[in-house]
């Protein structure tokens, strides 16, 4: 069996043919006989007490199925980390998109007017909308202090270093909410019968999250709840937790009506009501020596979690652990906090807290460089983590990563030096200014700390009656190539052609819980389990003498058929076992935060137009070390797509809030990049391998979301010499600053760098 036959080759995407021919079945493409259509009646105020609900005139209400919290058989909550978020509000509403009632009708055209005709009378309560308002505790809207979660990461004694510092550099950085904007809106279909229980089909990332939520809500045993993932039209984290809410609503309508119910959001409802990226504020105070070495620092990382807990503690954790970037901190204190506000809960979005804290870190590095009088290149080079050193959580870097080398290669590819000289000349005149910006960063693959141990994922591989092989996982395909990559791994492990392996559609009746499809964990963690379950199939066939040690694909198929004929269903299971050399302390937040990190250096080249104040990204170099690249075409697609989404995060996508509601919840006024807005995004890989991942793979999907924003803003700052410490950075922001301050002759950071 050649080891490089399938792994490392860009084999055809498993479901690709169905996608290019339009045959793939997404949830809205599915029709069940006798099906009703559902709709959601939501609060329209950010905070208050429900006084009265009136069903207005002119609607044949007796034709509608109406569900309220009273119809919930079990617990009125969407069970996740906490149980604080109701499925349907009863007394209090805590954000302006909170579901209160559900309606269903056979004619979908009648639903919008019916939703409008439900009048809800409230006693309003004072709302809070920002991190600062939440911190002031003028109103307590969650728990005792509006705080969902805090973490403290401490390394060394940071209090002692300030006296020894040559420079103390401070900065405050912020990032806005961002909508995932998958092109397929969220949606679910539910059907109920008392014998089989509840079944939901939908657009989703995590079948077993929904399974758990429905068991609690419907008071049903595990075997009477079935969750089936349909083809899913993009997710990016946006279909991690909110689908549990939609599935719950569809299920309640199906139980009450006894008919299948389709509940599909339109774009406005999806954008307004479902989760977005957490807005953040990060404060840095850093002690630096005169030769530019970081001596230590304090980092305060705060995120706005919205009205309920949802996944905020986990997003906060990842953001906090990544807050120190790929640098060596002899001492550091990271205080992280997630606070409550009266806006719809923020949630998972590619990068999961890391894009926020890394934006701050990488803008701050340029600020430090400026204060010390070093180049952005040199300041990074002098502080990069080296193998054998420890991260902020005191995880020893065991990987042989050489970030200096990675940086050199990125500089070379982007022709950094020659361009920098050229721009310095060109920027003296004309109506445009050009700049280059760098970001160096890392992204931990898999769940944080003990997460994978708690998940304890299980994967199955089945030898089928026809001699083919089927992978059984709850890991969902939503564009990344899950089915393709997991098939490659199984085929490679068994020495079979790629075509002999398929992946079952995630259906909780069929597949075990291999964990949620999140955290850049599928190729690395689930892939490794697929590899070992596949080897289990081979071992069984060999030890039962049906297959010789060395075999052809035909011999394998024959042996597999014989095994099924003789013994029936033929499956091999593999359960996650934490590596024994990985230690994590949940209390102290210390230890091996991730089994592996991906590492990257990105370089952005921008032009700022001094007439329109628009920023154009002209060139983008994305160089990363992601372990073994299992499928070059898919891997490249992940990086380009992530960079594009991060360019949107940096320069285009602004959520406009009013009274806790998203005002621009349309594609017309929430602007994502089009094909004519984006530069060629140039992708390069280094492959060091990784002992914990399948065939040396690490996580890849989230990494490209982390670096572009700081690289781009650093480039803008270099181009026009005016510091910006927030995103999204829109033309009007640049106009405001330039018309107030004018163009700086040379790049100036604002005066918080204090020389001692």
């Amino acid at each position: 069996m050649g080891s490089d036959r399938i792994i490392g080759n860009s084999v055809p995407r498993k479901e690709g043919r169905d996608k290019v021919t339009g045959r793939s079945q997404y949830v809205d493409d599915m029709v069940l006989p006798n099906m009703l259509f559902g709709a959601t009646v939501r609060s329209r105020i950010p905070r208050g007490r429900i006084k009265e609900i009136t069903f207005g005139p002119g609607i044949a209400w007796d034709e509608f199925v109406i569900v309220s919290a009273k119809d919930i058989p079990g617990k009125n909550c969407i069970s996740l980390i906490g149980d604080d978020q109701p499925c349907l509000a009863t007394e209090l509403v805590n954000h302006p998109e909170e579901p209160i009632l559900l309606l269903a009708h056979p004619d979908r055209h009648l639903l919008p007017q019916a939703v409008e005709s439900v009048a809800i009378d409230y006693d309003p309560l004072p709302p809070i909308f920002t991190i600062e308002e939440s911190e002031s505790r003028s109103e307590i809207i969650w728990g005792e202090d509006n705080v969902f979660k805090t973490y403290l990461i401490e390394k060394g004694n940071v209090d002692d270093i300030w006296a020894t510092a040559d420079y103390i550099i401070e900065g405050e950085y912020s990032t806005g909410a961002q909508e995932q904007l998958y092109i397929e809106n969220n949606g679910m279909i539910a059907a109920f019968d008392s014998a089989q229980g509840i079944t939901v089909w939908g657009s989703l990332q995590c079948p077993y999250y929904i399974h758990k939520a429905l068991m609690e809500l419907c008071q049903l045993p595990a075997e009477k709840v079935r969750v089936v993932q349909m083809e899913t039209g993009g997710a990016f984290g946006g279909k991690e937790e909110y689908p549990s809410m939609i599935a719950a609503h569809a299920a309640l309508l199906a139980i009450k009506s006894g008919r299948p119910v389709k509940l599909i959001y339109d774009r406005m409802e999806d954008m307004a009501a479902t989760t977005k990226r957490h807005p953040s504020r990060t404060r840095h105070r850093t002690a630096v020596s005169k030769d530019g070495k970081i001596l230590g620092g304090e980092i305060e990382f705060t995120i706005d979690g919205g009205a309920y807990l949802t996944l905020s503690p986990v997003v906060l954790s990842r953001g906090a652990i990544h807050a120190g970037g790929p640098y060596y901190w002899p001492s550091v204190r990271i205080r992280a906090k997630a606070v409550a506000t009266n806006v719809p809960p923020h949630g998972a979005f590619r990068g999961f807290g890391a894009p926020q804290s890394l934006f701050a870190m990488e803008r701050h590095m340029d600020r430090i460089a400026q204060a010390v009088g070093l180049s952005p290149i040199e300041i990074r080079r002098r502080n990069f983590l080296q193998p054998g050193e420890t991260t902020t959580t005191e995880q020893i870097v065991r990987e042989p990563i050489n970030l200096g080398k990675l940086l050199n290669r990125a500089l070379e590819i982007s022709e950094y030096d020659s361009k920098k000289q050229r721009f310095a000349n060109e920027n003296r005149n004309g109506d445009t200014r050009k700049g280059l910006g760098i970001a160096a960063f890392l992204h931990g693959a898999g769940f944080t700390g003990s997460g994978e141990r708690y998940l304890s994922s299980v994967v199955g591989v089945e030898g089928c009656a026809d001699g083919s092989v089927r992978v059984l996982v709850s890991s969902a395909e939503f564009g990344q190539g899950t089915k393709t990559v997991l098939s490659q791994i199984a085929a490679e492990a068994l020495g079979l052609p790629y075509e002999n392996v398929s992946v079952a559609q995630p259906d909780t009746l069929e597949v075990p819980n291999s964990g949620p499809t999140v955290a850049s964990r599928t190729a690395m963690v689930v892939g490794k389990l697929v590899q070992s379950a596949a080897l289990g199939i081979r071992q069984t066939l060999v030890s039962s003498k049906l297959l010789p040690e060395s075999y052809s694909a035909d011999e394998f198929r024959t042996a597999c058929r014989q095994h099924v004929a003789k013994h029936g269903q033929f499956r091999s299971w593999s359960r996650y076992e934490a590596p024994t050399d990985i230690f994590w302390d949940d209390e102290e937040y210390r230890g091996e935060a991730y089994a592996a990190f991906a590492w990257a250096v990105y370089i952005a080249e921008v032009t700022v137009d001094l007439t329109t104040y628009s920023v154009c990204v002209d060139d983008f170099v994305a160089l990363q070390e992601v372990g073994k690249v299992l499928h070059p075409l898919l891997a490249k697609g992940q990086i380009i797509g992530g960079v594009a989404q991060a360019i949107g995060f940096s320069l285009y996508e602004k959520v406009v809030w009013q009274n806790g509601r998203m005002q621009n919840c349309q594609m017309t006024n929430y602007i994502m990049p089009t094909s004519s807005d984006l530069p060629p995004i140039r992708v390069f890989f280094e492959e060091l391998g990784n002992v914990y991942g399948a065939y040396g793979a690490k996580g890849i999907g989230e990494l490209p979301m982390d670096g572009p924003a700081p690289a781009i803003v650093n480039a803008v700052v270099e181009a026009i010499g005016v510091p910006f410490d927030f995103i999204p950075l829109l033309p009007e922001d640049i106009e405001d600053r330039l018309s107030a301050d004018g163009l700086a002759a040379s790049p100036q950071q604002s005066g918080v760098g204090v020389a001692r």
Binding site: E184, N185, A235, L633, S675
Partner: protein, 165 residues
């Protein structure tokens, strides 16, 4: 509404879909998108935004690229509509479908049918579009997965294969 009342507001419309003549009773202001998906079962045409921004519902009407969510079906009277389903002959893929597969132009697949129709429209207008013309030509179709590079490559590759052939 009873079937009788329902029918009173409907009108008869005849048009061709993927070269097949169709005659249906429809609400005149029903969206072409809904008629294709719900009445004719052609679910390859997708709804992304419902307001003509994302292009997922793109179809060709008399050879012109339109957003089917913005076309009242009455406008389709007498026209010839082509959807993604019409691009495939049996199991043989259209050259663009093939290059989208080969170049990684489809990730989650939801924008793909509309994107392929937009590309097909572009190639019907321009023999050898430049990369800039491809980027411009596809800018009415949003994709959140790919960052467009591999889509642009897929279209360029289709042009290259056409030139060689």
């Amino acid at each position: 509404m009873s079937d009788l009342a329902d029918n009173r507001f409907k009108v008869e419309i005849s048009f061709k879909v993927n070269a097949q003549p169709k005659t249906l009773r429809v609400y005149p202001m029903e969206r072409l998108l809904d008629v294709l998906r719900l009445e004719l079962g052609l679910t390859g045409t997708k709804e992304g935004c419902g307001e003509g921004e994302c292009g997922s519902c793109s179809v060709l009407m008399d050879g012109i690229l339109v957003n089917s969510c913005l076309v009242p079906v009455l406008q389709a009277e007498g026209s010839s509509v082509a959807t993604i389903e019409g691009l495939t002959t049996g199991e043989t893929l259209n050259p663009l479908q093939q290059t989208f597969l080969d170049c990684g132009g489809a990730q989650c697949g939801i924008c793909t049918p509309g994107m392929i129709l937009a590309a097909s429209y572009l190639l019907s207008r321009k023999e050898k579009p430049t990369v800039e013309e491809i980027r411009e030509g596809l800018s009415g179709n949003l994709c959140r997965c790919t960052g467009y590079n591999q889509i642009v490559e897929a279209v360029a590759e289709a042009v290259r294969r056409r030139t060689i052939a």
